[in-house]
Symmetry: C2
């Protein structure tokens, strides 16, 4: 394995009995709180009231209406509020989009220019410096943003969806109450679980050898996600299943699977173009792309096969000595897992036809540095286009 | 799973290229450094010089001679130095005993009474309050103290070996350079690896159900330890094997396997009596006791068998449908693993005869609260004595 640093100081509260710690965590930073949330779901399920009832001693300003695939417009609105009202700490209550919006606001609030500069790939790009502290209450197991330093935001005006990372963006505390995810729909539960698996696979498929701790833990988390996603889809109020999905989502991107295994992510780079062009659900896009990606690289680069076979044997207990056969069986089982979860597994089903595949492929290779970067396998625009063409309709892998 | 908090903010540096970060970490706390180490090994292998060469801008006082099973006398000596010289930060360079000594000194330096009060089970017992910060350089994969809030110290005068825990005792930064463990002897490599496995098993064998993330990660870490201990024993300078053992040792006690799974530890309570009475190597004592403990509880409490079978199938890939048979096969394979590592697997081989078994059993039940506490299986002094009698000579499990 390569040298690495691990420094994840978020105070994680996992369980239903920690609401009284929210004011304790917030009070470390000040009195002026920006309470950020999405739509009405936290009002319908009572979480809004539960959190508000803990905020008696604070000056609370609200910013609502955060959408999935969070938009830069909302970030700008939040930055403005922070500057006007001297906000001390951000309190996003919601899923990954809400927390990611808070991260972008946190950075923007301490910056004089436009917050999109942090995301932009152009000459106006700026690194994140100081930022406001974040304390979050999570309502969806998916992105892992609650325990890392990254965020993703879309600019629909320019059809761009980019990530940013910053040393100061790690949340100070995250509250994971499994009960808050009981009402997550089957579709979002499946999409979120696919997102977690994708994060784990992006970290697993690297060229670094000898990182057994990282890779064995990675496989373990994938097994936990697959087992508990099935349970949560059948029994949405199964506390343990929801708790396992939440904790797995945090750990998947919490630094352990990635430590000592550098390298660019591929499927996320491709999916970000789908979301930027068509605003589809991120986890669904990932589920559609990943099996086709793995199948494509088996054909393109034989040196990738052994690692895919290792994944297949580890996650799906495949007992098959031949690497190529084991890998293909694993890809097929991954595809079937997503299908059984109810994920639409073709681009056509999510409203994407063949028209912009070339344009998105070129964007993905350019923005993700997929051809000349340090990703698992080098991909040209032709490769990505082939993966997307394969993704248009149903597939079988053998 | 039960509710839990996870808050592990130690900055972990894993690799050979982070020595220049030692002064950066120390400087956060002040100029006066207490450099704590054991005997001559860090002088022989060059680590002493390497660390000293980074400490140009600091006032460094040294405390050496820390022994395995660290002694309260050394703690008192360190506390005295801290108070006399206004020490700002502790820099233990060594294995678990050295870091644990530093933790006890860190607590004692901010306390007016005797440092043994933190360990004592008597009316003079004190909880750890404020403490000095610790930055450590680790030279042995074993105790996991580099990433948690606990320490164990012996009082040979009273034949007591007790642990302490304190919110403030988590090291601020830990430097894990695999190269520093190349010279660890086969015996200590095996004993350290057994210690890691024992920590994982103590966390695994709990009554809490539904903690899949914790338990799957636990199994993954055990597999990584078993695989890499074999490699390190054959090829002591295998960087990846040493890195995996170090990182697994930190994660084993770093909060993830234990989160949401409360309950007292059993084998450690028993082993601490062996070490307190006979000063044997901690990991060796654990390796000797654990298979006999598991074998004993299978007979005593049928409700424990399923969890032991889960362990056996997970760690040793045992394909056996019957729980009792799977469990026994797992115990036998665990015993054989320790033997293959070269660990003396009987109490007689480490110089312990039958004379004090009863006394140690009674101490273990009392100090570990094994009969009426929340351990995996309730044990009386008769149970512990039976486990120790079984441990005197060679065993077979079927």
């Amino acid at each position: 394995m390569k040298s690495f640093e691990y420094n994840v100081y978020t105070h994680m509260y996992v369980g239903s009995d920690f609401y009284d710690q929210i004011p304790v965590e917030l009070a470390k930073y000040g009195k002026n709180v920006l309470f950020i949330y999405g739509g009405g779901s936290i009002k319908r399920n009572g979480l809004y009231d539960k959190v508000i009832s803990e905020l008696g001693g604070f000056n609370v300003i609200e910013l609502s209406g955060i959408e999935p695939n969070p938009r830069i417009e909302k970030v700008r609105e939040g930055v403005e509020i922070c500057k006007t009202h001297n906000i001390d700490v951000l309190l996003p209550v919601g899923g990954g989009s809400t927390v990611d919006t808070a991260k972008a606001i946190a950075a923007g609030a301490k910056y004089d220019g436009d917050a999109w500069d942090f995301f932009s790939r152009g000459p106006e790009h700026k690194a994140v410096g100081d930022s406001l502290p974040i304390v979050d209450v999570l309502t969806l197991a998916a992105t892992g943003t609650e325990m890392n330093r990254n965020a993703v935001v879309s600019n629909l005006g320019t059809q761009e969806k980019y990530g940013l990372g910053g040393e100061t963006l790690l949340p100070k505390a995250s509250f994971l109450d499994p009960v808050n995810t009981f009402t997550v729909s089957k579709y979002q539960t499946a999409a979120g679980s696919a997102d977690i698996l994708s994060h784990l696979m992006e970290n697993f498929f690297k060229r670094t050898t000898g990182a057994d701790v990282q890779d064995f833990v990675n496989i373990a988390l994938q097994k936990a996600v697959i087992k508990n996603a099935y349970i949560a889809l059948v029994t949405p109020e199964d506390y343990d299943a929801r708790a396992n999905l939440l904790w797995a989502s945090s750990l998947a991107l919490g630094g352990i699977p990635a430590g000592g295994k550098p390298g660019a992510w591929t499927c996320h780079a491709i999916e970000h173009e789908l979301s930027a062009f068509y605003d589809i659900t991120h986890g669904v896009g990932l589920a559609i792309i990943t099996p086709r990606f793995l199948n494509h690289i088996i054909k393109k680069d034989k040196t990738a096969t052994a690692k895919i076979a290792e994944y297949a044997r580890g996650v799906f207990d495949i007992n098959e000595a031949d690497d190529t056969l084991a890998a293909l069986k694993g890809i097929q089982l991954q595809y079937e897992t997503f299908k059984k979860w109810g994920i639409p597994m073709t681009l056509q089903e999510v409203g994407i036809d063949g028209k912009k595949l070339r344009e998105m492929s070129e964007h993905a290779v350019k923005h993700g540095n997929l051809e000349h970067g340090d990703s698992f396998v080098s991909l040209t625009a032709d490769d990505v286009e082939a993966i997307l063409v394969d993704s248009l309709t149903e597939s079988e892998f053998h």
